[in-house]
Amino acid sequence: MSCHLDPSHPLASLRQIQTGVVPAPQVLEHLARCADCEQFVAQELPVDLDRVFGGVLAELHAPRTTLLERVLDRLRLPVWLARSVTAAPALQGSWLACSVVVISLAALAGTLHGRGDVGASVPPLLLLAPCVVAAAVAFCYGPRVDPLFELTQVTPASRTVALLARMGAVMAVNSVVIAVASGLSGGPGAALAWFPSMAAVSLLSAVVAARTRPVVGVGAGLVIWVSTVLAVSSAGLRATSALWGAPAQLCYGVAALGLGVLLVHWIRHERVFLLPQAGL
């Protein structure tokens, strides 16, 4: 058989190879399948065709990188870390869309409802922001969240760095959404007052999720945060100053730092994110 002699055959483009023009992908695809043509080209071209075509086909099969991956690449993150971050379940489109909807609704409710004395009531956005981010952080890493978790755990890639990068990316993306919503609604959240409380509640959720399950982590964060808000409200304090004043912010910061250190310590000693018993 000598199919390359057919002038209508894709391999007619061989002349392009010889004249230095980049060959069409279909020619390369064909060469990978047709031993006759591959042999013919090997005789015509003094190069290691297996290597060349293998490489070109691999490039053809290689997936396009996502927008987030390209951004992380620009930030000079190592390839493995960029891939790990973009694979986080809480950074997938559907999850982010849900977060945007919830935050937007909270901001809208605050705008419609908060025309009066905002100091006395809790703005919905400030109440909800920590919960939304806590859920995203609890669902960004771990054996019950990541389908490839077991495989990634047996690679030399650092678990600590991967966890911190995913948590950082999740918090950063959600912070942008919350900041935009706050800015547009013009409420008291515009001054980034929500950030320390969000960090503390998120890290609390992450720590509990790491030792138990993501749902338990989210629940713990939610219960603690809502209890705090209710306690402040029932004590008759002005919510904005009691929950987001300087002393409260300091407490949130210290709590976030402590919880972060604890989480890193646990993961470095592989005491968290343990695989469940096989078959269960």
Binding site: L151, T152, V154
Partner: protein, 286 residues
Amino acid sequence: MRVVVENLSRSFGSSKVLRDLELTLEAGITGILGPNGAGKTTLLRILSTALAPSKGSVKVGGWDLSTPHGRTEARRRLGYLPQEVGYYPRFTVFQLVDYIAVLKELDDRADRHRRVRAAIDAVGLSEVARKRIKTLSGGMRRRVGIAQAIVADPELLLLDEPTGGLDPEQRMRFRRLITSLAADRTVVLSTHLVEDIAAVCTNVVVLWQGRVLFQGQPAQLRERAAGMVWLADTVPESALLSWRTEEGALRVIGPRPTPSAVGIEPTLEDAYLLVTNCALADAQLR
């Protein structure tokens, strides 16, 4: 690469899955054989560093898995196929294998992509390299798992139930692939299929209720059942196990059932059944 397991135990709550295991695995293919719940997956997870032991030590190529440095060095040298390979719905075959290759420190993009393609070729999935994994059959997904395990050319290859879901043709292909890979590395595969062990393994470990019942060559395991396998007309109470063969004869494992019973050459499966049933009988007596 040598794997040395000493006094290894693993518990989940009050459930003891592995009990004081002592094992040495050398280059070649070692099959870990055992019934469901014997502890095969837990053992492989510990060898792969995915799980820490409750007690005891594991050394992979001299690296102690109880230290962070030892674990990292071992991870650089091993490939692992878990019992169930998860996947991200948006991932194609190429993307998944490439993702693991990236995590395995294959940093050069062109070289990595060539290796990814070679691994996908080796398991016969070139035609579907660009397809999303969620569209593939269970057997094909299993082969994607094997491809990611071999992509970084590991010195130690750990395969948990590698032939589960593969059709007979693919099972043959897999056996050829594993045999060719085992020439210069250590391959450990866990299975409950005796024919897999008989086909490719140079060593076999029989695990039962978290304990090692046997470790040695398949021929040595077969020898355990010499003089214990019979074709008979009736089944006596002394028989450990018996079943009717396709030819209609009664195959009996145990002491000579009747004076007219004919002794036959034991298979690996006979020997495995004998060893595990003896252990079961001992446990019931205690």
